[in-house]
Subunit: 335 residues, 2 copies
DNA sequence: CTGAAAGCGCTTACAG
DNA sequence: CTGAAAGCGCTTACAG
């Protein structure tokens, strides 16, 4: 049996194709006996409705598009697991779009997504320019495709719902933790590239620093180890530092390595903290203190929110913020 | 303009819808002037062919399914980047299926994939049971859907093409390297769970060990840090060891941490090596010697192979093996 | 080179 | 509760 169609099922079950369709999609509208008979035939024939025909006729695809910047970022990958698990529960298929920065204009990809007739879009890119945001808004409004930002927050507008943690607060808390360690020269190590969430972490850092009447010091470097290692070595030759809050665990670990090579002791001389609570933090020595970001949950809740939107349910809060926590380990003093 | 259809374009360009279709799909069959006119209208109207109608009518979806076990494994994520980049070149969309071990029977997922009418399937799961393989074969033969195994090798059969490196050889080479370090009690640290590729790494290890007339010692533990840390601590209390080949970088790093905590020096006392050349290897201290697996390329070549299959092109070699290399760092002696 | 028409496999009012 | 029929938006022989 290559592919059984609805006609084959209808024939074998001696009903019309309309009844087959109902037995599948609106079982309660079909007499139990008929339904059973039809379902049995479906089973026997291994029938599966052709997704294209279904999508064309119903104008619903039960497919969502997930747009991600770069799969190999640890946070994105784990978020995908959360998204996929919830998508499965609600029977949505996932069309994956990985952005290749700059090469394919994002507009083209979005057009493609519209053509694919997805029922909803999950946007995981953590840097959004105003232009991109406007484009997303256009998609939402013109094409009426529900849209959720996951682990991204667009500061200006609430129009597109988002799910993340309160990064500003997290940045504030982790900085405060280092201040409690008795540190006075605390640097935030952020990225050269602008990411919305890193801006928020920086804002939280600045709030804590200013509250404590310390001098804010933000260093921007690269997420690439080979680059930031150099950079750390150079930069901290003539900078006094006793505390580091890095926007990513891996950057914090990278810093710790450089510190050790310069015979600086952690946490005795410098307290170090990161963000995310990845495997990097656990494998590092000393183990890294960091903000635990519930990244799986962010994906799951984002997908769940999208299903609500696709069902036209009312959303009470357009900006969902999940709880985070501080994980204290050996890279800070923790008195 | 919500969604322009082919009729809108045909009307505005004063041609039939057949001509519009041709202008898009077989431009050479349309008179240049007509074509230009049509294309201009398409541009103006922002027309994109409805993917469902197109799929239904043409019985091709220009979509491939990618089946993965767990997104958050570093190798899978990076492979996805390679897959996506090539998919884009050939205009294929990606339907992502993440397996939730045990919960949803894989058969159901595969049925779903068949229903989705994908043109091809990339299978990234690195453990395949005989039953699963038979099922994949059935899909390939009954439904005629091209299939490629990526970074997985099924030992028994060549029927489904695969792309990977020569893991047996890599296992052999890295073990040999430790033997050259002068090690005699070399353990392979593998996983409790059976993965095809780890079997191959073990086979290579065994070959090198037996060639050198040493005693093979395979320890199986978990990829989870909390578990394997305990396990290492316990196990190596009464086992002499001077060399470790771990099947994954992160396991090797985890071992190095335990060793250091037991005041064992690396590489002086024990040479340690891993597999993959991930960021873990670079962030570790000492930096980890390992087999470099061109994981992005494996994804890219796998996708490329699939496009050939989908175009009915002939495949000369069903088992593509990409080159790997040994990256020597400070966790081995490297005389 | 172009158009009219059939058909892809479903869903969904509309009757009955 | 069930069936006949229109329609979803395309592609593709078949004529011309």
């Amino acid at each position: 049996m290559s592919k059984a169609t609805i006609y084959d099922v209808a024939g074998a079950a001696r009903v019309s194709l309309a009844t087959v369709s109902r037995a599948i999609n609106n079982p309660e509208k079909v007499k139990p006996e008929t339904r059973e008979r039809v379902l049995r035939v479906i089973e026997e024939l291994g029938y599966k409705p052709n997704a294209f025909a279904k999508g064309l006729a119903s104008r619903k695809s039960t497919t969502v598009a997930v747009i991600v910047p770069d799969m190999s970022r640890a946070s994105i990958a784990e978020m995908m697991n959360g998204i996929a698990d919830i998508a499965r529960v609600y029977k949505y298929a996932i069309l994956l779009y990985i952005l290749d920065h700059e090469e394919t204009p994002e507009e083209d990809i979005l057009k493609e997504i519209v053509a694919a007739q997805v029922d909803g879009i999950l946007y995981l890119n953590d840097e959004i320019t105003e232009k991109q945001y406007d484009f997303l808004l256009k998609i939402k409004n013109e094409y009426q495709i529900p849209l959720v930002l996951t682990n991204t927050i667009y500061p200006g507008s609430d129009e597109i719902p988002s799910v993340s943690i309160d990064y500003e607060k997290a940045g504030y808390e982790i900085t405060k933790k280092l201040i409690e360690d008795g540190r006075h020269n605390i640097y935030m190590v952020s990225t050269v590239r602008k990411y919305m969430v890193n801006d928020l972490k920086e804002a939280g850092y600045l709030r804590a620093i200013s509250e404590a009447n310390l001098t804010p010091r933000i260093m921007r470097t690269s997420g690439r180890i080979s680059i930031n290692t150099e950079h750390f070595n150079e930069y901290f030759k003539d900078h006094k530092v006793d505390g580091i809050v890095a926007v990513r665990d891996s950057i914090a670990v990278s810093f710790m390595n450089v510190a050790r090579e310069n015979h600086v002791k952690i946490p005795e001389d410098i307290s170090v903290a990161g963000f995310q609570n990845t495997k990097y933090a656990l494998l590092a020595r000393p183990q890294l203190t960091c903000v635990d970001v519930p990244i799986y949950d962010i994906g799951a809740v984002g997908m769940r929110l999208l299903t609500k939107l696709m069902n036209q349910e009312d959303i009470t809060e357009p900006r969902v913020k999940l709880d985070h926590s501080l994980v204290l380990r050996d890279s800070t003093i923790n008195t």
